[in-house]
Symmetry: C2
Subunit: 231 residues, 2 copies
């Protein structure tokens, strides 16, 4: 296969660093906090609130926190005391400043790739959360362009490629979400490499039969660089 890739764009959360783990861990703390009020509930009520609130609050820690507070009031039938709501807001602040574990190979391979390719970071979510994470990652100097979007639609990718005058044929997007990183890029004629993460947020799940896949699957960022060397 001969491809002329000049620009590599990476997703950030769960592609370069672990992120979903932090939401899962916070959710566990949260369920313990609510256990005295109703023992038999599961996280589905929280997930339903998150989905309902997406149209009002978007993605990110603050929207998640407002959904946790709202669900706590519902699940406890209004009995949750103020000091427990304050603990939920403390959890949000802890998430904002939580350690940001880079995934294996990322700290070495991203700076290396930046010497040969024009690298971009394309991430979805809350501007404030994402900028804070990029700054803490220590990787920002490796990226020529950083784009934070509210939704990763085909149109959003098209706008980014036009802005920097990039041909989709010479562009590859690398990410863990089929829904956000792979399908919209394939739809506009770009290349895409899927590196699955061990946790996927329910909202990002997509099922595609193996024979309909028009993208590359890789196990890790090291695996991706091997694939790239053969392009």
């Amino acid at each position: 296969m001969i491809m002329n890739i000049t620009t590599i764009a990476f997703d950030a959360d769960d592609t370069l660093w672990a992120n979903e783990d932090l939401f899962v861990a916070t959710q566990q703390q949260y369920m313990q906090l609510l256990a005295p009020f109703r023992a038999d509930w599961d996280a589905e009520e929280l997930h339903a609130a998150e989905r309902r609130n997406l149209a009002y609050f978007g993605y990110g820690i603050k929207g998640f926190t407002l959904s946790m507070i709202e669900t706590a009031i519902e699940v406890s039938n209004g009995a949750i005391p103020g000091r427990d709501i304050a603990k939920i807001i403390d959890m949000a602040r802890a998430m904002v400043h939580a350690p940001l574990p880079l995934l294996p190979g990322v700290a070495e391979l991203i700076p290396q790739l930046s010497t040969k390719y024009s690298l971009m970071l394309i991430t979805k979510g809350d501007l404030f959360d994402q900028e804070a994470k990029i700054a803490r990652s220590g990787l920002s100097d490796s990226f020529r362009h950083i784009e934070i979007v509210s939704e990763k639609s085909p149109h959003a990718y098209q706008r980014i490629l036009q802005r920097y005058d990039i041909n989709p044929q010479s562009f590859v997007m690398v990410g863990n979400s089929l829904r956000s990183d792979i399908l919209p890029v394939v739809a506009i004629g770009g290349h895409a490499v899927h590196i699955p993460y061990h946790l996927t947020w329910a909202h990002e799940h997509v099922d595609i039969p193996a024979n309909e896949r028009t993208w590359q699957e890789c196990d890790s960022i090291a695996d991706f660089t091997h694939w790239l060397a053969q392009c």
Copy 2:
């Protein structure tokens, strides 16, 4: 005065449409909600929480809402019931979808200016809130570039001008905040036009003696277009 302006950038909130009014109105509703718990408090406690939380939650409706919830718990000494906290979250949802009143002259003059100049929108705040407002404004087709940043520093403006290869001498920024729209642009050698708004968020207040002003003051967007015609 002869200037060769080719790009005009506008701030959005309280420059193109009324925004601070919505925060003030919500705050009044909120103070009524809390009146039964402590009659003698003033909004300074809420403002202090907002300032403290800026480093965790940034600007926008969601951060403001988390600060309202936290202050409600403090002011009521934990006695505020869950159903009142739920009402605060309802206020946040109402803010997200509140009417967006364009300021006088904006609906006519922005499309007119876009036929002669390259227009940009440069706005600070929550990505989700700002995108929703831009979409509802009906003005987005008039803007060649839309930039949403988390903080309007000289560096943030410099990055935007570099991205689009714009000379600061041919660039003018129009906005209501000296701190965010005027001073950082003057600092990097661009032109700036200040259109004060009748409400200014305490965080944006700056005092500058009249004889040190290196920017243009205008009363309205119509007044700005008159000034521009003479440049």
